[in-house]
């Protein structure tokens, strides 16, 4: 059932070779400084022209607990998580035995010699390395030795996989920028590892990195940084936040970028304001205040923060105030698993707040889409005068993804229906909440507008077309029906689904967000291994548009693939298609919700099991 390509089997008659198609997992302890080693290793492979992706599985603490970083090399450019690990670098005594146990036969294990792992099993390849000892050759300072031991494994692994030393050196230079001493010491460590492997280890596994040309022009970036860039290049001016994993790095990246690229040349002053709020209630309150006053304003948070924002978001919906909220989803409920990924907030975010509320949600699948939605989210928030959520997740937000370089946004931004003093002068009988255009979207003015008729009173209580307080049933009903109409208008204004249909396919797959990458790969597996063609619809936003119904109509069975327990998107699809009950019987779920990013193999197995149920 493996999709790994075995090369060279024929030619040499010797051990098969697995080229550019495997995962390396480094098991360490967090806070031990292995992050840069992992980056260097990944980048070196990337520089060899081989597509890579990196996933960090880290604990919710700062130091001393197990961490696994997995680098996937994939000649086919698959960048989802690969379920099986092919090479393990076992540096963590706490988990080493269990880590080794969980490998599939034939895997390779590089490990700290003193851990004595070679007695754990005999169907994997062991490469013992005395890292601690070797580190002494690199540096005297005992604390730094620990650090450099990590760099030594990069050397060892590099040698075992035939990664060119020059590329590792280049990666180090990139990692440590211009810091000569650091570069020098780390290169020294790499060499020690390389030499040791060359002299003392006998290659006995099939894994190999071979130069390709698949990464030219590509970048490596995490989704949070990409979202930050997208926001910066689309005019964000007010940013508020309260730190929470896995969302903090979005704002932290944004600050870093804006300090460089958003300082006014003439005055040296900032064209933005960032405030670390006292909590998420304050963060969203500030965003709404700023949105009301006309700024492109965003905040970024995760589950607990979303829950805390609930009351204010209802105000945003009802009083019609633009706001952008990035929800970098993590595993809930409650504090849940703060450093694990999920798509568990779809329903609760869609319906966030009491009363009849519904919100626009965007689901980026890629870092490029994080960049793109950095702008889309503002355009929609200002056009529809409502909170817009960008539903990313920990996997997308914090892991390292390969992507085409982002394209510079050439088109102007959409600031929606704002009347300035001049425009207002031309309007007869303006009312803040009047639906003049029939699309449910009224016209607004900004505070500070120098026109005697510009002022209006914003409130979360009952209001009429002129923003006056009212408790009249007919006024309330009118406002609520207009809000419904506005939401309908949004159906065709939000990014529509992306379709990839296959002639003759009997089944359809529906995915969204980070599920995408496992689906892409799984479709290939299904076709290649089970001769099963599957069309694919990727949802990019809520509310749905009609393409969903058309898609489901076409296929015999449609699987909604998502990362939560309760099949949350499937539920929304059912509601959307309730007027076509005959379609509902076609729908079922593939769920993956234990905190690790979804992988293609699990999807494929589940789909095959559902398509060909055992008698």
């Amino acid at each position: 059932m493996s999709t790994q390509t075995l090369v060279g089997e024929k030619e040499s008659g010797a051990k098969p070779t697995v080229v550019n198609d495997f995962s390396i997992q480094v098991a360490t302890i967090n806070g031990s400084g292995s992050q840069s080693s992992n980056s260097v290793l990944m980048r070196a492979i990337f520089q060899m022209g081989v597509p890579v992706s990196g996933k960090n599985l880290f604990p919710s603490n700062i130091q001393g607990l197990p961490t696994w970083f997995t680098i996937r090399a994939s000649k086919d450019s698959y960048i989802a998580r690969k379920r099986d690990v092919d090479m393990l670098v076992a540096m963590n005594p706490q988990t080493a035995r269990e880590d080794v146990q969980s490998l599939k036969p034939g895997s390779a294990v590089v490990y700290e010699q003193s851990l004595g792992l070679d007695n754990v099993r005999d169907d994997v390849v062991f490469y013992p390395v005395p890292f601690a000892e070797l580190a002494k050759d690199v540096i005297d300072e005992p604390r730094l030795r620990k650090l450099l031991a990590n760099m030594i494994y990069v050397g060892v692994v590099g040698q075992l996989l035939s990664i060119e030393k020059e590329e590792i050196r280049a990666a180090i230079t990139k990692q440590f920028k211009a810091k000569a001493k650091a570069v020098e010491l780390n290169v020294k460590a790499i060499n020690v590892g390389f030499d040791y492997a060359e002299k003392k280890l006998t290659k006995a596994d099939p894994l190999e990195i071979e130069r390709m040309n698949e990464t030219a022009g590509k970048i490596l970036i995490d989704g949070n940084a990409a979202g930050a860039l997208g926001s910066m290049f689309n005019g964000v001016t007010v940013v508020t936040w309260y730190p929470i994993t896995p969302s903090s790095s979005l704002v932290e990246s944004l600050i870093d970028y804006m300090k460089v690229y958003r300082i006014d040349e003439k005055t040296g002053k900032a064209t933005f304001a960032v405030v670390q709020a006292e909590d998420e209630l304050a963060a969203i309150g500030m965003v709404l205040g700023a949105g009301w006053a006309g700024a492109r304003s965003l905040t970024s948070t995760s589950g607990p923060g979303i829950s805390l924002m609930s009351e204010f978001v209802g105000l945003g919906y009802f009083a019609e105030i633009p706001a952008v909220i990035w929800n970098i989803q993590r595993v809930g409920p409650s504090t849940g698993l703060p450093t694990r990924t999920a798509q568990g907030d779809v329903l609760s975010t869609y319906l966030l707040s009491h009363g009849d509320t519904k919100h626009i949600l965007l689901f980026p699948s890629s870092v490029a889409e994080c960049f793109e939605f950095g702008g889309t989210s503002f355009d929609l928030a200002e056009r529809f005068q409502t909170p817009v959520f960008v539903m990313s997740d920990l996997d997308l937000g914090m892991n390292i993804w390969m992507s085409d370089a982002f394209e510079y946004p050439e088109k102007p931004i959409d600031r929606g229906k704002v009347l300035d003093a001049e425009a207002l002068a031309k309007v007869d009988d303006w009312g803040r909440y009047k639906d003049v255009d029939g699309d449910g979207i009224p016209h607004r003015t900004l505070p500070g507008t120098n026109h005697p008729g510009a002022a209006y009173f914003t409130r979360g209580s009952g209001h009429n077309d002129y923003a006056e307080y009212t408790e009249r049933p007919e006024d309330y009903e009118k406002t609520m029906m207009r809000l419904s109409r506005k939401f309908d208008t949004a159906r065709n204004a939000v990014p529509g689904p992306v379709l990839d249909e296959v002639d003759g396919a009997k089944i359809g797959l529906i995915g969204y967000g980070t599920t995408h990458w496992a689906i892409v790969e799984s479709r290939d597996q299904l076709r290649n291994e089970s001769d099963l063609a599957a069309s694919y619809l990727r949802i990019r936003a809520l509310p749905f548009n009609d393409e969903l119904e058309a898609f489901v109509s076409k296929y015999d069975r449609v699987y909604v693939i998502e990362q939560n327990r309760d099949a949350q998107m499937l539920q929304l699809i059912r509601l959307e298609l309730a007027h076509r009950p005959e379609l509902l019987a076609k729908l079922s779920s593939v769920l993956h919700f234990a905190g690790h990013p979804i992988d293609a193999r699990s999807v494929t197995e589940e789909l095959v099991a559902q398509e060909y149920p055992a008698e």
């Binding site: 960032v274 304050a282 900004l446």
Partner: protein, 350 residues
Amino acid sequence: MSTTAKQPPAPPKKVNRLGLAQADYRGKPSTLCKGCGHDSISNQLIKAFYEYGVEPHRVAKLSGIGCSSKTPAYFLSKSHGFNAVHGRMPSVATGAVLANRDLVAVGVSGDGDTASIGIGQFVHLLRRNLPIVYIVENNGVYGLTKGQFSATADLGSKLKTGVVNELPAVDLCGLAVELGATYVARSFAGDPKQVVTLMKGAFGHSGTAVLDIISPCVTFNNHAGSTKSYTWGKENEELIQDVGFVPFFDEIDVDYDEGEAKKVKLHDGSSIILKKLERDYDPTNRRKALELLLDSDEKKQFLTGLIYLDTKKENLIELLDVVDEPLATLPLDRVRPPKSALDDVMESLK
């Protein structure tokens, strides 16, 4: 010593330095109880804005939820207003001022809105020294939800229902001085002269100006059970009980001099003691201000006047070092870096 009924001031024929009449600063008719202290404060705001001469379109009126928080609808109809959610106005005001630093932000809140549900946002607003005039219309109860105690209710005070407040009152001025506000004053809704003066001072200040204004709730402090209850209520105790009748009161009006202590009788017959700061009091000494507040607290007096002033501390907008123009309306070319910037970043990620 007497509290006399006050007539609403006749509209002046005059105009201010902007050529606007006082009527240009009016709002919609109030829907508060007749005699509510909050209405006095609205009128004082109208007067202060008029006299100070602020362009209405530059003002942003912000509030939370409560009787007090409704009042921004009752003044300055030509200014944008934002009636937010309960207790969280400070954050909304912060966002609005970040977006547009040219706005003159006036926040109106109640003691429940500020000291109960809202104390967290209030504390952090103070720390940030956001440029805002923050008025607390302090009546010690939740007016709009019918008279429960707030966190500024005096220890031992008693509700209509007979419930006694056993918890100490939060001193909002003390908090404000301690936590970073740079203009801190206390006054009484029935002292228009002082209130208007303090408001105008606040308009001129560029940092957080807290005005803690005692503003009696005529409805829910008028409990028949109090031994000091208002004569009329007392006599007819049996009759008016349970009927949901809200008697009309006239607004209280007081006038007294610097350095003077004045006992003011409230609608329910109870009284409070106001003590006006001496004319030569120096409000720029933080330590002194805090000590004075402790003093007056011990003497069960309300110290009125400008208690603390710091004109040197940078406000939030200055700290953030943002451009001089409103961020909200910067043109695209100033908020979208050039293509070369993206190229730069992309290069570094390759």
